[in-house]
């Protein structure tokens, strides 16, 4: 019994060590950013700062339009999340609640669309957007993602689990399609909608491949692109400016995560259990 306890404790200690190892690179970036210049990049590194220097943040704002990039990220990710959730809810409602010609064929079409990678659609879409003069605009980055096949699929599955008797009861009371969707389906499908929103926000907030092709002017870039643009502008000695930019982006994310950890982890893990 005691041996088992000791074994458990040793395992916990090993896990905590692994955890520290995992977050060490992030902490190194945070700490290095706020150290005085002569203490940065010392080896072995200084893990607990005793003196502080916040000037590196100022240099970020000098080099890139950080707040503009933050705004771009918020607008693009916000429009995609709201738009894709809306189109998915409407489509999932039709697929789960109505009978019509071509229902199965259309559903299979959407599912097949899941298999078509961005890397193939990006070329014709780029050519078309170029002809329409939309390259280097926010629209070129959010328009293609206002539909999400995975979202339609997940919400349809969830809506199928909501008893149809509820719809029928409301219909007897004279409720129309939209009223039923708004008053009955939406509130009951809330967990799935919240999970989908978190998923979409996380994916498109961090997206790199697509925006990297379409956006090029500094004041049009999203945060991930702005971050990487610092890499070219800076010599090795100015790594601290990149560190400051990473800190500005990642530290607030860490705070949000610490508060909403349970909900975030559960909603993302649920995608796997159902899959």
């Amino acid at each position: 019994m005691i041996a088992k306890r000791a074994g458990n404790l040793a395992l916990s200690a090993a896990l905590v060590a692994l955890g520290l190892l995992m977050i060490a690179p992030i902490l190194w970036v945070f700490v290095t950013t706020i150290l005085p210049a002569e203490q940065r990049f010392a080896l072995p590194p200084k893990w607990i700062p005793t003196e502080f220097d916040f000037s590196a943040f100022g240099k970020v704002f000098d080099l890139i339009p950080f707040w503009k990039m933050l705004l771009n990220s918020i607008v693009i990710t916000g429009v995609i999340t709201l738009g894709a959730v809306t189109t998915s809810v409407l489509a999932a409602y039709a697929f789960s609640r109505m009978e019509f010609r071509g229902r199965n064929a259309l559903f299979i079409l959407f599912l097949a669309g899941l298999m078509i990678p961005q890397q193939i659609t990006i070329i014709p879409v780029f050519i078309a957007m170029r002809e329409l003069g939309l390259v280097d605009t926010r629209a070129s980055v959010f328009l293609p993602f206002l539909v999400n096949a995975l979202g339609i699929f997940l919400l349809r599955q969830y809506m199928l689990s909501i008893p149809r008797e509820l719809d029928d009861a409301a219909r007897v009371d004279g409720a129309g399609r939209l009223t039923i969707l708004w008053r009955i389906i939406l509130p009951l499908a809330r967990p799935a909608i919240v999970a989908l929103s978190i998923f979409l926000f996380q994916v498109y907030w961090n997206d790199f491949f697509w925006p990297n092709v379409f956006l090029s002017s500094p004041d049009k870039l999203t945060l991930p692109l702005g971050l990487v643009s610092l890499q070219g502008a800076q010599g090795e000695s100015e790594a601290v400016v990149v560190f400051a930019a990473i800190t500005l982006i990642v530290a607030p994310l860490l705070l949000i995560f610490l508060f909403f950890q349970r909900a975030l982890v559960d909603s993302i893990a649920s995608s796997g259990v159902k899959g």
């Binding site: 916990s12 896990l15 905590v16 692994l18 955890g19 995992m22 977050i23 690179p25 992030i26 190194w28 080896l43 189109t87 409407l90 489509a91 039709a94 109505m98 009978e99 019509f100 229902r103 259309l106 959407f110 078509i116 990678p117 890397q119 193939i120 659609t121 990006i122 070329i123 014709p124 879409v125 780029f126 078309a128 293609p144 206002l146 539909v147 096949a149 339609i152 219909r171 004279g174 790199f208 491949f209 092709v213 945060l223 991930p224 692109l225 971050l227 890499q231 790594a239 990149v242 990473i246 982006i249 860490l254 995560f257 950890q261 975030l264 993302i268 649920s270 796997g272 259990v273 899959g275």
Partner: protein
């Protein structure tokens, strides 16, 4: 809504049909299509049409300037002979193989280790430390590790060298032997948290009575793992294999940001090569044929995985 089939579209009153079904404006037959139309129009515009556009492009030598010229299957013979592409494909396959193996083995190992009684604080810390990197963008992850692996001031270099990990002092990313393994490990660091939480949720969904029953039968921990945990977890393992495959086969960011495919092509990937071809050299015709190759490969591999699923996934 079988009653809808007997209604006449466009009339303001339902003709025939079940009286039970009230149809206020008579458009009941059209209603489903109205609900579907936003998703369907966007889907046709941004997924289906571009797919056919890419197929058409792949038969041309267009470079965004001048006129498109039909060149038959030339792009596809070029695919077969392009040494740089084959190098990128080889790197991608190595990356994909290790990505799948490591995500399953390490993710499951971490989940098994965490799935036990422990202090709440410890559990909270572990979930944060293991999962948080997954929420950080590739842009930030790639830059953090580029500096952490820097031969002069990187902490991974400093501590790794101390415990005897080879090659770090010369810079892993600058070395042909170590650059690709380095990117495999950075990717693992970035996304292992996802596999971990999915496996943990899978483990917690296994009913406890199965373990109790096998214990009564005298099975030890090793037998319990092989005969209860693994079969019950096989759908979860399958999910992680498929997800890891799709993500890894399309890997782009670490190659693009950290190494630009170098040194000497040692870390090029198919999608990075597609990007260079299409959006740096503007050979969009050839890039489209590479895109088709990615599409067909992902499609084929996923189909094979689903066919194999019947063999080894235990549907409880």
């Amino acid at each position: 809504m079988s009653s809808g089939a007997t209604q006449i579209v466009g009339t303001s009153r339902a003709v025939g049909g079940a009286p039970r079904r009230r149809s206020p404006r008579g458009g009941e037959k059209l209603t489903p299509y109205l609900f579907l139309s936003p998703a369907l129009l966007l889907f046709l515009t941004f997924v289906v049409a571009p797919l056919f556009g890419a197929i058409a492009l792949s038969f041309t030598d267009w470079n965004l300037l001048g006129s498109k010229r039909f060149i038959g299957l030339d792009n596809f013979t070029r695919l077969a002979e392009d040494g740089d592409l084959h190098k990128a494909l080889g790197n991608t396959l190595i990356f994909t193989f290790w990505s799948i193996v490591l995500h399953v083995v390490v993710g499951l190992g971490m989940a098994l280790a965490v799935n036990r009684q422990m202090w709440r604080v410890t559990r909270y810390f572990l979930r944060t430390a293991f999962f948080f990197p997954f929420l950080v963008s590739w842009a930030a992850v790639a830059l953090i590790w580029q500096y952490a692996l820097d031969p002069n001031f990187g902490i991974a270099t400093f501590y790794g060298d101390k415990v005897g990990i080879p090659g770090l002092a010369d810079g892993w990313l600058l070395n042909k032997t170590y650059a690709l393994p380095a990117l495999i490990l950075v990717d693992l660091w970035h996304t292992i948290g996802f596999a971990f939480v999915v496996f943990l949720a899978g483990l917690q969904a296994i009913p406890g009575h199965l373990y109790e029953a096998s214990e009564v039968d005298g099975a030890g921990p090793v037998r319990r793992f092989w005969h209860v945990t693994l079969p019950m977890l096989s759908p979860t393992i399958f999910f992680i294999v498929v997800i890891s495959f799709i993500g890894a086969f399309q890997i782009f960011e670490p190659m693009y940001i950290m190494t630009r495919g170098g040194p000497d092509g040692a870390t090029s990937s198919v999608v990075q090569y597609l990007y260079e071809t299409g959006f740096r050299n503007y050979e969009v015709g050839y890039a489209a044929s590479i895109g088709l190759l990615v599409f067909v490969a992902v499609l084929a591999a996923t189909l094979v995985q689903f066919l194999l699923r019947r063999r080894w996934v235990f549907e409880g």
